[in-house]
């Protein structure tokens, strides 16, 4: 109840009522890059998970990054940074408490590590937002068993995934058809190659390639070529990708909460990891148009079973 009340107070924080925070002595301070719904959802799930055992010492307090400078409370035992900016700010800060960065992609976290000079380990770790490559390829196998050639557009922010994707694909009997798009280069020519050769387009997040300007042409061209897109977020599925595997902010928050609780109980933060919980989303209209019968719930279940090895 107390946690809930505290959390309610924190929900009011964005309204400018953050002055009360200095009275708290939180075990965990959740710092959000922004006050958006996704961050709130993740924070709520983390707080819920941490407080699940009812230990009064496991108090959780939430702040937006903009409020951190005004924070007058005692130092928490652990920080959870939600998003890249919060993670970067905490990485640069002099805090001695461990920092768990989450709700950010692996590439973003690794950049912060590089730029801040921090070392990952018990004091500074992460729970990534993006899915492991193997999981995405497993979805290809489960949903599109006929597909063999996986097309990928590589940009400056995703290129580093090429070798691991290659070996993960090989292990699954799949072949990667990649095209590299240089900075300032348009995606068209690379996309043409992919659409001519691949059975599906696996989208790996990279704002140089996938953004709200380019998505129009990419989705239309891939649909015309009958090459479905496997995307990285439900928004892309809504936009017209055939399907996506992703973790919701609540799933991320919950797993981060569990890691935080373990840390409070004396377990050190482990190496950075990918999310365990995920969802599959299918655009049924696109699937029907492509003559495919796909059910998101059963795909999710089959993928989970595959990972459990049962």
């Amino acid at each position: 109840m107390k946690v809930a009340l505290r959390y309610l107070l924190q929900l009011l924080a964005p309204l400018g009522l953050a002055v009360g925070v200095n009275a708290a002595e939180p075990a965990v301070l959740v710092v959000s890059s922004e006050r958006g719904a996704a961050y709130q959802e993740a924070a709520a799930a983390a707080a819920g998970e941490i407080g699940r055992v009812g230990d009064p010492r496991h108090e959780v307090q939430q702040l937006a990054l903009a409020e951190l400078a005004n924070y007058r409370g005692s130092a928490p035992r652990l920080y959870i940074a939600l998003g890249s900016e919060a993670c970067a700010a905490l990485a640069r800060s002099a805090t001695t408490a461990p920092v768990l960065c989450t709700l950010l992609p692996r590439v973003g976290f690794e950049r912060i590590v590089r730029e801040s000079g921090r070392r990952t380990g018990p004091a500074f770790s992460a729970l990534y937002l993006n899915q492991p490559l193997g999981r995405q390829l497993d979805l290809v196998r489960v949903a599109l068993p006929q597909a063999r050639r996986v097309g990928v557009l590589w940009g400056p922010d995703s290129q580093f995934n090429a070798p691991p994707l290659e070996s993960a694909a090989q292990a699954r009997g799949l072949q990667v058809v990649g095209a590299t798009i240089k900075p300032d280069e348009l995606v068209f020519s690379g996309l043409k190659t992919i659409l001519e050769q691949a059975d599906l387009l696996l989208a790996i997040a990279d704002p140089h390639i996938y953004n709200s300007n380019s998505i129009q042409n990419i989705l239309l061209a891939s649909f015309r070529a009958q090459v479905p897109m496997l995307a990285f977020s439900p928004a892309y599925v809504r936009a017209g990708a055939l399907m996506a595997v992703y973790s919701t902010p609540a799933q991320i928050g919950q797993q981060a909460g569990a890691l935080a609780r373990a840390a409070l109980q004396g377990q050190a933060l482990g190496a950075p990891q990918h999310p365990l919980q995920f969802e599959v989303s299918v655009n049924e209209h696109v699937a029907r148009s492509l003559g495919l019968k796909l059910d998101a719930a059963s795909l999710t279940e089959r993928l989970r079973r595959l990972e459990r090895g049962s």
Partner: protein, 645 residues
């Protein structure tokens, strides 16, 4: 967006697109995973699946177009079941007719280019010039919907619809050149440049198709075209597509020694503008507004020099004039739940014509059309799709007409669909059929000496009631797809040219008749890199149809086999066969004809660019009659070089 080094006459477009541009973030962050992106494959952009489409569809894709060696759209229609094709420019341009004999105009078909109806109001609704609106190289695919469907494809979709879809500008960036030359003075050329970025892409193409024409015709024939397309993303919810172009069809027609049909060059000059605004309302709703303007000018003039008729000597015979049409269409597409999709809207259309020689007045004839349409696709059960639609038309020339259509698709087993449907449609008489007045006057006094054509102004729309049973089967193991259509098309009040003894020609609703038959198409990929297309039709149009020139051949076959060989060599074989049939102005039947074409092509790199060299031989066999007993299609060979970067 780079607007500086490109065509400077597009600053407005550049400005619009730039205004819509958002900042692209520099590095990947959680925002890439969490933020919304615009709905792209919205409800109106997802086409119906072939097995859920209300009717039989033949799709000729870009690859088939390239492998066929065809030089224009009409040439490709020989691969469509039930289509008869002519390469003659005598009446207007090469054209295809479906279930009716070749005529001057073949007005019982709808031809759409990117959703714009391109029939010629000036030439009695002729579909030939529309088939020449764009270069083959600019076409993404041609969808031929066989069967009446005014509800979905507009008022002209009386017997069928030829839907030409041009390539997206984004798919044709860079420069391409194609040159074709060979027998019969074939001199075709194509030049294209495409440019743009994520926010806006553009294409400008210019081409010509030129040859000496059919043996026996006056010739030469030349089609010159320029086409522009711009695809602009105006923010997250709006797209604007702009199109403009012009085609000039210049044909050598007439015959030496025929005073009333002397050799001459006739030109049909058509220009158009089209703007399509597409607005995404939400994930289940779209709004589309299309405006199009077309103007056409026909010049067809020669002096009448028959010394036996001194009163007309030197007097003009003229079929020239000009016209334009404008159309504004709004369509709202919406999805109600998972099982019902609706597209409804309205169109306002105005056509106007001026032709002193065809109407004996300088006055402008204006026809106004108002149309409302609705189409629904309802998944009654997973295995049953009901397509119901209708179009109501009010026109100032044909009154009110309602064209409904209903078709049920039943997926009897995975990959196997049965269809049954009924539709009704109408064709409004053209201005010429209604108001024609062609007179010849005394050269000095101006007094009317002869009235050649006199419209009665009492022509009613012609009607069709079509019933069809269809089957679509797909065998994935064989890579084969079969479509069968069995039809009965009852046409009433068919509009025909008439002439009573000693009187002028006129148009009247004269015949009621039934066309029935069956047709199938097979698409089969028997082994790697090979494809067979087979089209066959058996049609009986003799029932009550008295004029044999309006009849369609009993049996027609079209076939295309293509194979990719090692070394990037493509080989294709095309074959078509047509039963004996009478041509429009012939007294006797032409014998059965067959034609075999072969194409061999090799892809290569030339100067760092993708290139293809091909040799095509059309009609390996003897010359065959085409359109008129005097015209023959002879064997012709040509070489083609295509370069693209």
């Amino acid at each position: 967006m780079n607007c500086t080094n490109k065509l400077t006459w597009l600053p407005v477009l550049c400005g619009l697109a730039a205004a819509a541009a958002a900042q692209t973030p520099d590095t990947v962050s959680e925002k890439d995973y969490l933020e919304d992106v615009p709905v792209v494959l919205s409800v109106s952009r997802l086409p119906q699946r072939l097995d859920e489409t209300p009717g039989a569809v033949t799709i000729i894709d870009r690859q088939t177009i390239r492998l066929s060696g065809a030089r224009d759209v009409a040439d490709l229609l020989r691969l469509v079941p039930g289509f008869r094709v002519s390469d003659a420019f005598e009446s207007n341009t090469p054209m295809g007719s479906y279930h009716l004999g070749l005529s001057d105009y073949n007005a019982q078909l709808q031809v759409l280019v990117d959703g714009r109806s391109v029939y010629s109001p000036y030439l009695n609704g002729a579909t030939g010039p529309g088939l020449q609106a764009v270069a083959l190289e600019d076409i993404e695919r041609i969808e031929v919907h066989r069967g009446s469907n005014s509800a979905a494809y507009g008022a002209r979709a009386f017997l069928g619809t030829i839907n030409i879809v041009t390539r997206s500008a984004a798919d044709s960036l860079g420069t391409a050149v194609a040159l074709r030359g060979g027998d019969n003075e074939i001199q075709d050329a194509y030049l294209r440049h495409g440019w743009g970025d994520d926010r806006a892409t553009y294409r400008l193409s210019a081409d010509q198709r030129a040859d000496r024409g059919l043996a026996g015709s006056s010739g030469p024939d030349r089609v010159s075209r320029v086409n522009f397309r711009g695809d602009l993303n105006l923010g997250r919810r709006d797209q604007l597509e702009l199109r403009a172009g012009q085609s000039v069809i210049s044909a050598g027609v007439g015959f030496a020694g025929q005073y009333g049909n002397a050799p001459r060059t006739r030109t049909i000059d058509t220009a158009y503008l089209q703007a399509d605004w597409k607005h995404n309302l939400d994930v289940d709703q779209d709004l589309a507004v299309q405006y199009s303007y077309m103007q056409e000018q026909t010049a067809d003039y020669f002096p009448y020099l028959d010394p036996a008729v001194p009163v007309y000597y030197g007097g003009p015979i003229d079929a020239g004039g000009h016209g334009n049409s404008q159309s504004l269409t709004a369509t709202h597409t919406t999805r109600w739940g998972a099982d019902l999709r609706l597209a409804w809207g309205g169109e306002l259309r105005r056509e106007s014509l001026v032709s002193q020689p065809r109407f004996d007045t300088d006055a402008e004839f204006v026809t106004d059309f108002s149309r409302l349409f609705l189409n629904s696709e309802w998944h009654l059960r997973p295995e049953l799709v009901l397509n119901v639609g209708g179009m109501f038309e009010h026109s100032s020339i044909g009154g009110d007409a309602f064209s409904p259509r209903v078709m049920l698709n039943w997926h009897v087993a995975p990959g196997h669909t049965l269809r049954y449907g009924v539709s009704r449609a109408h064709r409004t008489p053209s201005l010429f059929e209604q108001y024609a007045r062609v007179v010849y006057r005394d050269l000095t006094s101006g007094a009317v000496l002869l009235t050649a054509v006199q419209g009665t102004q009492t022509v009613q729309p012609e009607n069709i009631l079509a019933r069809e049973l269809g089957y679509l089967g797909y065998w994935p193991a064989l890579n084969a797809e079969l479509d069968v259509r069995i039809f009965e098309e009852t046409i009433t009040d068919f509009i025909k040219e008439q002439q009573d003894a000693g009187g002028p020609k006129y148009f009247a609703n004269r015949e009621d008749f039934t066309i029935h038959g069956g047709e199938f198409q097979l698409k089969w990929k028997p082994w790697h890199d090979a494809q067979l297309l087979l089209a066959h039709s058996l049609t009986d149009s003799t029932k009550l149809l008295q004029d044999p020139a309006w009849q369609t051949p009993v049996a027609m076959t079209g076939l295309m086999f293509s194979q990719r060989l090692p070394g990037q060599v493509d080989v294709s074989l095309l074959y078509s066969q047509i039963d004996p049939i009478q041509f429009p102005y012939a007294a006797v039947r032409a014998p059965a004809t067959s034609r075999t074409d072969v194409r061999v092509a090799k892809a290569l790199r030339l100067g760092g660019k993708d290139a293809e060299v091909s040799l095509v031989i059309q009609n390996l066999g003897p010359a065959y009659q085409d359109f008129s007993p005097d015209f023959y299609f002879r064997r012709q060979a040509y070489l083609m070089l295509r370069l693209e970067n």
